[in-house]
């Protein structure tokens, strides 16, 4: 469906506002229903804990790490919660 058809259906002539609201609606859909998934990869750096979440990130589906000892398979890892005993590691 074109943006023009949407505007005709709702009876509006404000294109910019329609485009912004369509983006908002897509954001809600991606947040709740995982309509389309994207996978991004980044390097793991030794002794570095913090990694950027991908640009345009809405909701997470899975996080995996490359297992080089098992045919280079990416395997899902678990999420931990709560306070950690180690808060900063200066000599991993």
């Amino acid at each position: 469906m074109k943006v023009l058809e949407l505007m005709e259906r709702v009876g509006s002539t404000d294109t910019n506002l329609m485009i912004v609201w369509v983006k908002d609606a897509i954001n809600i859909l991606q947040s709740n229903y995982k309509d389309s998934l994207t996978a991004t990869k980044q390097n793991i750096v030794q002794n570095q804990r913090d990694y950027d979440l991908p640009a345009g990130f809405v909701s997470i589906h899975s996080v995996s790490v490359l297992d080089t000892e098992d045919d280079d398979k990416y395997k899902s890892i678990r999420r931990i919660s709560g306070d950690h005993f180690v808060t900063e590691d200066t000599s991993p």
């Binding site: 074109k2 369509v22 609606a25 991606q30 909701s59 996080v63 790490v65 297992d67």
Partner: protein, 154 residues
């Protein structure tokens, strides 16, 4: 050299950062600076990633990628769609037909809210979520059938 990653690697999300940790077991012997193998931990604990792995971290997620396209997503395959970075009235909304109709309801809800019609907004938001849920349940059709016994009365 990473192995058993599903058992020993964990993550956490804090704000806009992903924190990556490795679990070091209490009985793991770790060489000290003098080369001595040593373990004095009383329980498992977390360490920063002890090794560099090229393309080692994979994050699967939803995002707002290509919200508008210059060709029709209903007639062109997903992989052949080209993004319309500067959308206009002639751009296509990159969603399935049912989800696009849900978006129409969302826009109606926003228009109702803008006009001070809160009841109307609530009505259209219900329609929005109903269509979004229908789209989701369409992917989970389950066919159940059972055999009929030979002498069953029909």
């Amino acid at each position: 050299m990473s192995k058993f990653v599903d058992r020993y690697w964990v993550y956490d999300i804090q704000g806009r950062k992903l924190h990556l940790w490795k679990i070091r077991r209490f009985d793991d012997n770790v060489p000290t600076t003098s080369g001595e193998l040593f373990s004095d931990a009383k329980s498992n604990f977390l360490v920063y990633p002890p090794e560099a792995i090229t393309n080692g971290l994979r994050i699967e997620h939803t995002s707002i990628s290509n919200p508008f396209t210059s060709n029709d997503p209903e007639s062109v395959a997903e992989s052949s769609l080209s993004e319309d970075a500067s959308p206009t009235e002639s751009s296509y909304i990159n969603l399935s037909r049912l989800l696009t109709l849900a978006v129409v309801d969302y826009v109606r809800a926003m228009l109702a809210e803008k006009g001070g019609n809160i009841e109307g907004k609530e009505y259209y938001m219900r329609q929005f979520y109903k269509k979004a849920s229908d789209n989701e349940s369409n992917k989970r059709k389950v066919l159940m059938c059972g055999t009929m016994s030979p002498y069953a009365i029909r």
